[in-house]
Symmetry: C2
Subunit: 913 residues, 2 copies
């Protein structure tokens, strides 16, 4: 095995042998530490052992290359020089940390050892008084514990044996907190820990600092191949031969006294994106203490002080260090050209930077940072577009709770439960337990939260009327969740602790009982369910863009959003269409930038008003003649719907899908409902019941639906085709540019499409002949069955366009019912069997193969085949990027996902390089 | 377009220019006529225009190559010379037929014109007396009618206008049958027909024989591209550029008087295969008359005379012709080396052969013919194997009605209804409307027909006990049909006219009412349902091989069957295993030649006796501990089952599948059953009901089943693995050679298999450690989801074998629920959308791609991967041949399909080369 001569790269003291580009050799952490050091930023000095050494170690029976020893020793000499102090020295001991650091971050997967170099002799070098004595022994016992666990594998069957000793010590001392143990207690514990190690390993604890450091280095190398790390690599496609680097660094301490501190800061506000330095610190504390939140952290600067509780700022207490920190943060932002999340420690009035990385931010902050950094000339347009995570855009579009009002509600104990954050946005209103009640209350001017065990297509009207939807059953892809996201409604789903009792007309939770009409609030961004009304307002973007109730000039956020979106559209190759079934949805989507409708589900119109009666009459008809009578009633209704949609989409293509769901979805199922409907329709209840039963299916998803309906009942396809073409002719006369695309669903074999296409063409020709008018239209198909993808070359002979229905394609390719997967899919995702819910994020490895195959085969037969996707995945960024890579013409998604998909489409181009 | 110089091939008069090998150029019919002519067999002389001319015609604006005219005229001169008479001659007119004839038979798709050459002049040449006058005008009117339709397209909107004229003529004459019209009537009709043609086409009917012949030839060429022919080609993968040949042949007539006759014959008995000449004829008749069955046909020879109704034989009435016919049939059998189905006509005491082709035969006849022709030295061993259609073998294995007894029953009006012939074989016995009642009656010594609306896994015991199963609902792949075929039971399914009323305990059909215990018979070969008891006997093969109640030496059929099967096994490369869940089924399958078990469904044992109680206890357990208690009860039961199966399969591999169906399949669903079970189990009915409801699924086929159970409840997999390994160790100690293969179902992603495999290996290692014994075993998976096939390379990393579960693979690839497809799949097959039920015959184009992909990808990772198939398709011949082509190691099918699959596997090899 070949290995480079240079195995150790030092950093610190204003220089470094490595830099940020050397991640493959030095790992991410090592490369970044080198980069900071080169910038002259004070990082604790240290060195990085290369990933090559890790691989050599693995391939050579866990031994070291001969020259490694000398290079490590030289590295330690280097950091002694920079930091002052000496490793293993009794008087002025320098302590070291050893950390893993692979090419990409593998959080928590591999091992770390701190405070290396302590033994009964060197510990004395840290002790100057009582305060430093406690610090010294606390550091010492932490070291023995960590080394014992990580390097020597001293572990218990159930409990950590070191923690058991600490517990015993506290009991014998009659104290509760670790902090209450004295320096002497801790010294005793060190002795007990070492005895434990000796007993379990059969050898005394290694007191020699050099033995310690080599033990820690080897432990990190070994941790590259422990099962959890191997599993993580497999899940994240990280090759085993990348190896990990090892970072050896001098320890610095923020907890040595009142001239010490530790803190975190953001170079801009991570919540709003405003360009102001923002952070917190704690005096005489370790980094963990800031995170743990036991002590109230103080503001980093005077500007950040809370007027109500004005704690002293770092700017006041450590003014020199603060000034240096400001210089550093400005330098880091300039260097990395992004908002940074930084960690620092002040040890005896000296500032040390521990880490800098791109700061996590809200969607609001992402947009503002990107727009303002572009203005500042810090980044270019491409970078500005890449800086906004597409998924985060949804935060900008949805209604929000007034921040203070919600905080107060939680303080007042009004948080009732937490479910799945299935549809972001805030909603507040009166409880309705049925769709009808929701509609009724909304008509009376109330705002409503629809509360159901789960929802079904019958509830669509109620969901439309409601502010938000809350269910006790169903996952992130349940009917409620999917439809809510499509409508841009807030939704908390699968909140299992709710006890919803339709009969009693009440919901029980957290010891309280809620009746219809009682007030409730839900936060779809967090999954929280809260008692009472909390003030909600539409997002600023929606106020400007959709509701047009706010002037664009007044909204900085809107202007910045608009700017980023415009830059994105300039870059994207793929178009974004929308899934919309009504003129209203179409208009919203168009305002969000949709370039057409990719999926108009005709059956969603079937539930409106009295239409369902005609639909049911059609289903219950004895023969074709009877069906045609009912279809004739539906024709003008459907035509009217299409006219409205065509007008809203003037100049843009509209894909209309022929009837898809199984007919039993339009019939009632309970005995009472059947009796009711039978009376209304003037048929015998028994006869109706028999019809309902005869239509019931074991697996409706794989049943008599899609084009199978149009094959058995060609008159349905004919009516729908006629409604579309007639509508197109009507609006064309009005001067509307109309581009209808008629889509046949659930085709598995080209013959099906051939038969359906013929019916459509005949219906269109008949309308042309009757009216003397013509419109251009296309006929295409959904590719939503594996067989369709496998034989897409044949299907493309009859199809002018394809639209991948990746919802059903996922269901069939994985053999996974979206409605039923809730019982085991969460377990699957948790166990890492699937990296994500395949209904939310396209399973590229499996379903993606079918998409690629379908695309390639389709284009092989018809070079100009238009190809899109209209599953839920069309609005999910990683899936959108995948579609771009395959070569699709467009993605289609629900109106509120359109901006997300537009941005993702731009990212796809920019990621190509 | 290039075209050969020779465009016309003549035959007749003891010679021919073509022969049987020239099907591509002359079509099947032309090549065979040439072959017969070359053999010196008297066929009406004629000639064939090549398929090349058809293609030239299509590519050149429906014109002819310049030299075609001369070659056709020479052809007609040739047939005039051979036949005597002259085309278009007034005194001795020769009439011609023009028929299509493609490379493969396309029955009824293209056009034919007979009696060409007739006009008012030539018709006189046929008239010698009153009898011949009627014949002459009848031929003439038929010609004008046929030519008017086929060549001149004179057709009505609704009714055939020629038939309307005939109807009118009959009314005006006051007669009922066409035959009652006189020669004068027919002469009048000819005039009326011609007037009709002139009116509809605007031109007089062509009287010139040469105009007629060219019109007919062009009509045949044109018919190659009419829609029905194009559709037929598409469905049958016949390329459009094959073209059709045109056969022009002299007409001969069997209806010119009492010195004329026409008949059909088989060179051996098509029912039994016995080597005797067998046939029927009619005097003074046309071929259609024999088929129409209006007149009782007479036997061809004295040996075939019916003692009860001794009509004169051809051998007696036309002795010279008969002797010639015998010579010819012997020559044909010798030449074609197969049993022939021949058609002949005697015109004025002269014999003409119209057609010879391989005769259709029963399975019994196929075996006997093959074995005896092999003995006779007529065919070689390969040919003998190919001569038996694998599918037909089932006829030899199933119980049969006594032929006379059934005929009498039908004569007595006992035929009640006809359903789907879902499981061949005859069954007779007392009606039972429930599985329990079936078991009870059988225990009391009765034979039972289980009559259900449809069946479910709960009915397995009853189905096992019953002689046959009759259902009123469900298709060829319903639970009843599939299970019955698996068990080798007779089954008539989906017999919709049965009105089965469980509450009243009766079945109403054909105006009669049947109670439990009433007698009924069903014929699964025909789908017939008959009143009362009809004598049934097991097939001879089963008597010898399975029941061992008949000496093999006594059964000629068995010896011949055995011989063919032995020859097949010598040739087959693929092994045939069986799907069997019990020692009894295993033993039967082994006797039928199974080389192992390819699928043992452990859950089928769960319904036996009290086991279901332990299963239900496991399902209803609150936690893992509770489940483990119940599983501990199941363990010894499962182990015992496996021991029995391993013993039956000594020396052969046994693939055991881990639990597959969703758990709700083991629970009752009706309120009454739930209450009942709750009492039995000592739990609250409400709680049980809630559990049943919580387990119910929208699409159970795509739900919580297969390895998803073992992932969520690993203890189930662990128990089953332990039962298998413990059983293997027990029987190994008895000296049994045991080869267990543990199969994980419904894997979609390699991670699932990895987790399940680990559980199995751990359980096995534990057993080895406890017992100090070891057995070899394999762990593999089913490939039954598209995603598994798409990622089979990864899955093969963890799998030692694959077994394609093509039932589920078909359901998912086509998005087609086997349980629900009955509503539209028959329509699909009828409309030619799918050529066959894809659950019966593997959809090679779609699902087959996944099988091939899964195989290739699997082998790419693991070169020695063992691959089989265990869906229903494993016993279907075309699917077996496909599996061979892909390269599979074995197919697995139900015991009674094993011989079918063995023979198909041999055919696969022989078809290769």
């Amino acid at each position: 095995m070949e290995i480079s001569e240079k195995k150790v790269y030092t950093f610190g003291g204003g220089t470094a042998e490595g830099n940020a580009t050397m991640k493959n050799l030095l790992g991410g952490k090592g490369a970044n530490l080198a980069e900071m050091a080169s910038l002259g930023i004070p990082v604790p000095a240290g060195f990085t052992i290369t990933t090559e050494v890790c691989n050599w170690f693995g391939a050579n029976d866990h031994s070291h290359p001969a020259d490694l020893k000398g290079q490590v020793e030289a590295g330690i000499a280097h950091l002694e020089t920079v930091m002052g102090g000496k490793f293993g020295d009794a008087a002025n001991p320098l302590l070291l940390s050893v950390r893993s650091g692979a090419r990409v971050s593998m959080p928590g997967m591999m091992d770390t050892v701190l405070n290396i170099g302590l033994n009964d002799t060197t510990v004395q070098g840290l002790i100057h008084d009582e305060v430093s004595k406690r610090f010294a022994y606390d550091s010492y016992r932490r070291f023995v514990q960590m080394y014992g666990d990580v390097v020597l594998h001293v572990r218990g069957e159930v409990h950590d044996p070191f923690e058991e000793l600490i517990e015993a010590k506290k009991q014998s001392r009659g104290v509760e907190l670790d902090n209450d143990l004295t320096a002497d207690d801790l010294e005793e514990l060190v002795g007990e820990f070492k005895a434990l190690v000796a007993k379990q390993t059969g050898s005394p604890f290694p007191d020699d600092p050099w033995t310690q450091i080599w033990g820690a280095i080897d432990a990190v190398f070994l941790s590259w191949d422990i099962p959890r790390a191997v599993a993580y690599r497999r899940l994240n496609d990280i090759p085993g031969d990348w190896g990990t680097a090892v970072n050896v660094q001098a320890m610095v301490f923020g907890n040595m006294g009142d001239d010490c501190a530790t803190g975190v800061a953001f170079t801009r506000d991570p919540s709003t994106g405003e360009n102001k330095f923002y952070g917190e610190y704690l005096k005489n504390a370790q980094g963990e203490d800031v995170v743990a939140g036991i002590r109230t952290p103080r503001p980093i600067n005077i500007a950040g002080k809370d007027p109500e509780n004005p704690l002293p700022a770092l700017e006041e207490e450590f003014n020199d260090c603060y000034k240096e920190l400001v210089e550093i943060y400005l330098k880091l932002e300039q260097h990395y050209k992004d908002m940074q999340d930084i960690e620092f420690t002040i040890q005896k009035n000296r500032l040390w930077m521990l880490q800098t990385r791109a700061g996590k931010r809200t969607g609001f902050a992402a947009v503002r940072c990107a727009a303002e950094m572009l203005d500042e000339g810090l980044i270019d347009e491409d970078t500005a577009v890449l800086r906004v995570d597409p998924e985060q855009l949804t935060q900008l579009l949805l209604p929000v709770f007034d921040r203070a009002a919600k905080a107060k509600a939680i303080e007042d104990g009004k948080l009732l439960a937490k479910g799945l954050n299935a549809g972001p946005g805030a909603a507040t209103g009166a409880i309705a337990f049925s769709a009808e009640e929701a509609v009724r209350r909304v008509e009376q001017g109330e705002k409503v939260i629809l509360v159901r065990v789960e929802t079904s297509p019958d509830d669509i009207q109620g969901m439309h009327s409601a502010e938000g939807i809350l269910t006790s059953r169903g996952g992130m892809t349940s009917h409620a969740a999917v439809v809510a996201r499509g409508m841009g409604k807030s939704c908390v789903a699968g909140c299992g602790v709710l006890d919803i009792d339709y009969n009693a007309g009440e919901m029980r939770v957290a010891g309280r009982t809620y009746k219809e009409g009682d007030s409730l609030s839900i936060d779809g961004l967090t999954g929280e369910v809260l008692d009472g009304i909390i003030e909600v307002k539409p997002s600023e973007i929606v106020q400007v863009l959709i509701n047009e109730e706010m002037n664009p000039d007044e909204s900085l956020l809107f202007q910045q959003f608009n700017r980023i979106m415009a830059l994105a559209d300039e870059r994207a190759r793929m178009l974004v269409r929308t899934n919309a079934d009504t003129p209203v949805d179409s208009t919203v989507a168009r305002k969000f930038g949709a370039k057409g409708i990719g999926l108009c589900r005709t059956e969603h119109m079937f539930f409106e008003g009295d239409r369902i009666d005609a639909v049911r009459e059609m289903i219950l008809a004895e023969d074709k003649a009877g069906r045609e009578v009912a279809l004739a009633k539906l024709l003008p209704m459907q035509q009217g719907d299409f006219e409205g949609i065509f007008r809203a989409m003037d100049g843009l293509p509209v894909t209309v899908r022929a009837l898809d769901p199984p007919l039993h979805e339009f019939l009632p199922h309970s005995a009472a409902e059947i009796t009711d409907l039978a009376g209304k329709m003037g048929v015998e209840a028994d006869k109706l019941k028999a019809k309902v039963e005869s239509l019931s299916e074991s697996n409706p998803m794989l049943g008599h639906r899609g084009c199978r309906l149009g094959i058995v009942y060609p008159e349905i396809t004919a009516m729908q085709a006629r409604a579309i073409i007639q509508a197109a002719i009507v609006v064309k006369k009005e001067g509307i540019e109309v581009l209808p695309e008629i889509m046949i669903p659930l085709v598995g074999k080209v013959n099906e499409l051939r038969i359906q296409r013929k019916i459509v063409v005949e219906a269109a020709d008949a309308v042309f002949a009757e009216t003397g008018e013509k419109v251009e239209y296309m006929v295409g198909t959904m590719i939503e069955l594996p067989r369709a993808a496998l034989t897409a070359d044949e299907i493309a002979e009859e199809a002018e366009f394809f639209s991948f229905g990746t919802n059903d394609l996922t269901q069939t390719a994985l053999g996974l019912s979206r409605d039923d997967a809730g019982r085991f899919l969460p377990h699957y995702v948790e166990a890492g069997i699937y990296p994500a819910d395949p209904f939310a994020r396209l399973d590229q490895e499996g379903v993606g193969q079918l998409v690629k195959m379908g695309f390639d085969k389709g284009r092989s037969t018809r070079a100009n085949l238009k190809v899109g996707i209209c599953g839920e995945h069309g609005g999910e960024p990683t899936s959108v990027i995948f579609c771009h890579k395959v070569g699709l013409n467009y993605v289609s998604c629900s109106p509120y996902r359109v901006p997300v998909a537009r941005l993702a489409a731009a990212h796809a181009v920019l990621q190509e390089g």
